[in-house]
Amino acid sequence: MGDVSVVDVAGRITLGEGSSALRDALRDLVSKGQNKILLNLGEVSYIDSSGIGELVSGFTSVTNSGGTLKLLNLTKRVQDLLQITKLYTVFDVHDNEAHAVASFK
């Protein structure tokens, strides 16, 4: 896997525990200098505007630390949400883990 951290996220990313768990996981990685992060959202059943905000916040903080955050395995629901909020083109989105990992420089 090299120096890419793959984070598997499951369940609901909503205001409260879901979004704060994601925030904590990303902060933890960045604080350890692990800033090539692939967020696997394949098991995410639901995400609200707060969860979308956490993805944006994570993307910005990883980028500001000199790293890269990419997304893997979006469900149709999450993909639709990122599209209507015009965020789909902001994130580098993959559907194959090996290819996604290889895409980090």
Partner: protein, 146 residues
């Protein structure tokens, strides 16, 4: 007879505490009523999320988690409309002055998408100030005859 049953009207009303648990409860109640009304999975998701975002606004921004303030949820349906009303006891804010979350300068903001998602997911969205205080939002999804 079957038609009458399918289109039967229904009203659910609850006064909920200003907590995040109430957000989940309201979503469950609204989605349950929408299921009984015959909406498909895609519409159930949209209704659920619109209710969730509205409840978060009421609990977090309206009532500010104040234990002495309640959120009134009502869900009604008739043969043509599925209507959800959510009212808080907060000070209210100007919905018309919200920044456009799709504008390039706002795209990377970490908040401010809730109302946009509600408008995207429902057929009608209205806001009215309550006297003496509070805000009521009305969300409507049109019933589709099967």
């Amino acid at each position: 007879m079957g038609d009458n049953t399918r289109h039967a009207s229904e009203t659910v009303e609850r006064f909920l505490d200003s907590t995040l648990e109430s957000v989940d409860r309201a979503e469950e109640l609204a989605v349950g009523a929408a299921e009984r009304a015959g909406f498909d999975d895609d519409d159930l998701m949209k209704i659920g999320m619109a209710v969730r975002e509205s409840m978060v606004n009421a609990v977090v921004h309206g009532n500010r988690y104040n234990e002495s303030k309640k959120v009134r949820l009502s869900v009604t349906r008739n043969s043509s409309r599925f209507t959800v009303r959510i009212a808080d006891e907060g000070e209210g804010f100007d919905f018309d002055r919200l920044p456009d979350p799709l504008a390039s300068e706002n795209l990377m903001r970490t908040s401010g998408r809730g109302i946009f998602l509600i408008r995207s997911f429902m057929d009608e969205f209205r806001v009215r100030r309550l006297d003496p205080g509070g805000t009521e939002v009305t969300l409507v999804k049109y019933m589709v005859s099967k």
